[in-house]
């Protein structure tokens, strides 16, 4: 009789322990997903802040590259005012493209290329571009881990009971997914 009780007790304790750890694991994974999402925003904002500085610096040396400069500014404004995720993704891709052509244009201005604050800005912006890509990668990795946790066998019970919904991946929209076009 005592043995049966003991075994039952062990099973109950084990079950409770399992529910706790599984639940906590899911919460942790979900928080990581949210953190990763916030990180993407942080990097995008940093890029918005850097662009006016860059444009000012370039203007001083290459004022007649108006079109390229304006393309960068309008892409930035479109990104800041975007209301839907799809719109935003589109604008971000435009910014990346506009910055690329801006940096390509600056190659023709040796004075500008020798300016230390320009070089620093260029380095920072390249860094931010990297970080945007990396934060998306990290977000997708986190989503992958979280989604897997909600799908595999023991976790799926807890996830169902406590409403841990699956998250969506961040996917490159439109241009970013298509073939790269080289313009001459």
């Amino acid at each position: 009789m005592l043995w049966v009780l003991l075994i039952l007790l062990v099973i109950v304790v084990a079950a409770i322990f399992f529910v706790f750890s599984s639940y906590n694991g899911l919460v942790r994974a979900r928080n990581r997903v949210e953190e990763a999402w916030a990180q993407i925003d942080v990097q995008l904002k940093k890029r918005y802040d850097l662009i006016p500085n860059l444009v000012e610096t370039v203007k001083g040396y290459a004022s007649h590259e108006k079109e390229t400069l304006e393309a960068v500014i309008s892409a930035r404004n479109a990104g800041m005012n975007a209301s839907s995720p799809a719109e935003q993704a589109n604008a971000e891709n435009q910014i990346t493209g506009a910055l690329k052509s801006l940096f390509a244009v600056t190659e023709a201005y040796p004075d500008l290329k020798a300016n230390t604050s320009f070089l620093h800005l260029q380095e920072t912006l390249t860094g931010v571009e990297d970080k945007i890509a990396y934060s998306r990668q990290y977000y997708n990795d986190s989503v992958n881990k979280y989604n897997t946790k909600t799908e595999v066998f023991p976790g799926v019970l807890i996830a169902g009971a406590f409403n841990f919904n699956k998250r969506e991946y961040f996917e490159a929209e439109g241009d970013a997914r298509g073939p790269v076009q080289v313009e001459f």
Binding site: R32, A36, Q39, Q43, H120, E123, T124, T126, G127, V128, D130, K131, Y134, S135, Q137, Y138, S142
Partner: protein, 289 residues
Amino acid sequence: MIMIIGFFLFTFLVLAIVGYAVTGGLSSVAIAVLITLATTWGAYWKSDVIALRMSRAVEADETEYARYHNLVEGLCIASGLPKPRLYVIEDDSPNAFATGRNPKNSAIAVTTGLFKKMNRLELEGVLAHELSHIKNYDILVNTMAVTMVGLLALVADFTFRFMWLSGHRRRGHHDGPDPTAIIAIVGIILLVLAPIIAKVMQYAIGRQREALADLSAVEITRYPPGLISALEKLKADDTIVRSGSRATAHMWIEEPMAQVEADGNLSRINRLFATHPPLDERIAALREL
């Protein structure tokens, strides 16, 4: 973690047996415990400071080394790690290492030669490799290993001198087989072997972890060509890190004492004592991805 506990126990065991064999008293076992604990504690808290100072590393300025900071920040975002402290070593040979005890208390040091010789993508590969050492806790295992190996060597040396001076002290206690005598013999054998065993262990760990760090690095950057071409540049380069010593050899991305493999292939003995797999093997492994 298992590695560290293993190293700890191994060191402790050797110290305890040797202590017992030499002095014949249990008090020496207690002393062994204390010494092992003290060194482990010291290694845990101070090893990064010591390693950085030994290689004359200075903190990397945020504006002067903007690229360095940017790349590491990006990689940290990709891997979800906090940003380590960044150091620079004035040295023409391209190399880098990571140290610390956990991701929150870690540091990466890079030689100025690496900045000169690597482009952005290669630099990123190397930094991702170092960051992987931090992520996989290799930095802790490494520093612990060094301390234990050093301690064992020190104790071995000290005990031999001690036995030389007082060798005849415990003769003629009993007749017949003496248990302390057996322990003493075991102790002496251990004493001779311990530093060697510890070294081989250290090297084995090092090689395995280098290969793992290469793979984890590529997992972070998702761009194997960066690290491959960085390793190729390291292979082509024959300058040697001046500030590297044998004690810190296993920490660098490439073995700083690379002159041993100047004639192409390492001999079998050399391979046993190499802290890194040959660069060719590492490049080939990355190519297969």
